[in-house]
Symmetry: D2
Subunit: 311 residues, 4 copies
């Protein structure tokens, strides 16, 4: 399979179309787009069969991408508006998998001590949990309130335990009906850093965004539906260098018409030496906006508010 270097379904579809020179719809992939206002856009990608799966390397399911422009300077109203949109889209997906009172566990992946990776744990701190109130002080909640619990399990490097092992233990012990997982994703686009949310009903692979593949968190491993909320917070430096070179070669080719040598270079995706020289292997280098701390705060507000409103 092509190395997409992005976890966003719509970016993968675009790359697939470009690489394969196809303009229209792909068999097994349905897309639609909605512009709420100039700062808010929704894109829905549905993978409906195995052909779609194979094409972009994502399992059958629904992927909704919400793009928020100018988040860095967003005011309270805009954050609330974005949270509303997230809440609506999340609700639609939840309704397909669980009833109104079905217990939900919200999981925030990532490392609170590493800024671009801290979104998940920060969201968990803001979730309106009800499970303990319903259990111990039922008189304080309206009848019919959904049980909500939340956990930030930490990362493998700090815990020594696969996230899915931790979650399996908890799910088997407290028996929620569905899990929502908030995680950092990789994107190819610098403009999407902490400005895009992808909702999907196919679960998540932790650490996919930053290079290390971990066992997936999905209905396969937890035996209950898993809705993923993924937010790109970094672009890998290797991707940026790669894209520079691709773009440059295309440019050279345009001007020189055709060029076997360059063509071969590009196909083989093998300017490895150059990348090695620029991006030393034992570094885990990322590209972020200088204002990442602030962007993460704003995005945390949107995601926490959006989840709370939908539950």
């Amino acid at each position: 399979m092509y190395n997409f270097r992005t976890d966003l379904a719509n970016e993968r579809r675009d790359i697939y179309q470009k690489v394969n020179g196809k303009e229209g719809e792909i068999d097994g992939i349905e897309s639609s787009r909605e512009d709420i206002n100039e700062n808010l856009k929704i894109e829905r990608v549905k993978i409906t069969n195995e052909n779609g799966e194979k094409a972009i390397g994502k399992p059958i399911g629904t992927y909704v991408t919400i793009d928020i422009k100018n988040l860095k300077i967003a005011r309270d109203e805009e954050i609330e508006k974005a949270a509303d949109i997230l809440s609506q889209e999340l609700k639609k997906i939840l309704e397909n998998h669980i009833d109104k009172q079905g217990e939900i566990l919200v999981v925030g992946l990532g490392n609170i001590y590493v800024t671009p990776d801290s979104l998940g744990p920060k969201v968990i701190n803001e979730i309106d949990v009800t499970r303990h109130i319903i259990n111990y002080l039922p008189q304080y909640v309206e009848e019919g309130t959904r049980m909500v619990s939340a956990i930030a399990p930490g990362v493998l490097g700090t815990t020594g335990i696969e996230t899915v092992e931790i979650l399996k233990g908890i799910v088997d012990n407290i028996h929620p009906k569905l899990v929502i997982v908030v995680d950092a994703l990789a994107s190819r686009s610098i403009e999407r850093i902490s400005s895009t949310i992808q909702i999907s009903d196919t679960g998540i692979v932790p650490g996919a965004g930053v290079g290390n593949t971990r066992s997936e968190i999905s209905i396969k491993t937890l035996n209950i539906p898993v809705v993923g909320l993924g937010i790109p917070t970094v672009v890998e430096t290797a991707v940026l260098v790669n894209d520079s070179l691709d773009l440059f070669i295309s440019k050279l080719q345009e001007e020189a018409k055709s060029n076997d040598y360059l063509n071969k270079l590009k196909e083989e995706d093998n300017y490895e030496e150059i990348k090695e020289a620029l991006v030393p292997k034992d570094y885990n280098l990322i590209v972020t906006p200088k204002e990442i701390d602030e962007l993460i705060e704003n995005m945390k507000d949107i995601v926490a508010l959006g989840i709370n409103k939908s539950l």
Copy 2:
């Protein structure tokens, strides 16, 4: 039972002796003391039978208290020295319950977002975990290395899940042989705030330090031995007010010889109105040193280093 308002076994023993006018040893309680240097003291309390249990309301087991003076201005050598002492004492207790290669899970209780409650999660971030390396990259560790994993499960108010439920799920899934729990305790003594470590082999009751009793974390609930590392980080304001009044009444009584009215007041522990006036009920008020942020950092270094050295 008398309301000791402290989780430290040696403080309880002192109070028991004072309240009951007993000077010497209590049946079922053995004590000894060791002064390492002028800033470091160790006190060992062993509860050996039911009478000891009843006397101070702590289960049969070993309780080692390490007092560190002047931690606020401690230099690197002093922190290292304190960590060495902690490591030695911890090792002795571990050896009674587990062999050298037995897998250990370290648990840090508390809320990372509330300064005096953040010690546990901060320690977890510094533990040298080995479980994932032994599992995935065994060539990078010496043979015979002990498997260590670590988790900060969060607090009930944030997760909606009892800590013991989370830990039960994880323990049942990854099967460690022993759990070490790091937690904040209550103390009666302002001088002990973030300056004392109590090691015990009887587990821990989370939240005991701050008013809300939760299900205990011990061999009874987890089915494996639980070693508790408790560090006082706050004194409850109500305790301070209570102690002021007790001390004041004693003073009055000394001078007035005897006084039925005052005697009654003290016995009944019921100057409730006064406490209500000073410490409003819906506030969760604590007394801390102004430098608590710094004290927590230094204590975190000692505890993390002490645990790492002993494992």
Copy 3:
């Protein structure tokens, strides 16, 4: 002068009235009260002559106190409402001292690394400064925009320099027309911790809230008007112990009718031994709500928003 142990003019007035058995107005002190809603109250105290000054130990000037209830659980609307009130009151005071375009320097006192002392520096981070834009990119601001700059100078223990020396240097060099100082205050009332804002046009004495008197920041030292925004964030532990004992003696006296010995104790304010036993001298102990981190965040939003709206 009586040791009020509070920086709030209205608390001092209440204590003065109680201690002196006076019910009505004091010569030289005018008061009025306004209840905005059940969570928001404004109290205005004006000291108009030397007698008022002497009575409560505060210089001639205007002191407006805004009390915000239930800030811990305040929602965005309530925070905005409180900011509106602050903005209105601040505007009224500013208008007495400076015209609409007069340049203002906002100063945030306190130590960013000590939670209850971090309010000032945190507010500074949110102030909409315009001075550099007007200087370098005037095309980006509307004509007539007021020049605003902001600084968090740190605390004496960290800088080695009196705050007023730092500010004097800056004021002499950049020539603002007025200074707004945001600082932590001491209060006697636990309910006011991070829930009250006092605005005054008489400047501020940094560190007054926590025991160490520093040179004042006022028109006397800076030669331009200084508006102080003071927020109680702690109660000193010694104050709490003192109040416990006072209340307790009053209680005893009520029941025992009169008591020369107790009377004497109270007047002399000298249960020093007891206080020493409870509050060791070399500790800088404070009483705070356990949720102080969160309260400081909410108060920071109100103060920053309130200032930004008024400028």
Copy 4:
């Protein structure tokens, strides 16, 4: 002048030599190198005349670069060793400009709320200031102790005031004899991020490291000697993209022998379109290691310790 895109004198010298095809010494630039151990290297560059100044665009003066390898996993001893080296080098430079008791002001530039920019303010928090003790409690310090004060003035975007204006005001008011400025620098080399310290006696230009040139902080603007401690904490993304393309063109040229078109591209430094496509202009994008938070903590310890030891 050539756009070096680095503030390190030794990197500039290397680039100058490469661009100009010169191998040996440059007139006006003296260099020497010392390897302390495999993890610690010192390089000294002295610019001695105008020719040297012009060659690498740095004023006449001394530039000492200390490189620390593997800082991410450095233990306490290694951090102490690096601090010792820094202290020795700093002392040598200070001795050329000030006597043993001359008062020093340490300045930490940068924004505490932006991780890679927070080094300066964090160092300030750890400096052993003595000025206030000598002024108010001289009995507590040995006679002959040097007066040290410290300040973190914030950044233009937050204060609205040029850093040099703030410092000028303070220097004119408290009269230190020398200023040490700690700041983030730009480097071309990813391996130097938070792993290199450049000491120079020529002052500093704040913000040089991240794109916006501000008025310099030097003897010219403050009238007293200024020693700069610069630490690279980021590489600008544009630099990385640029370097990718340069390296790639060199590679193509090697294989194709000569190529006028490529030569021209490289000389003109004008693949602007490509850079625009990859690095949108209104983003302030940086490349950092994922572990930047931890690297900054370790570097802060070295710099604070190194300064404290040398004063």
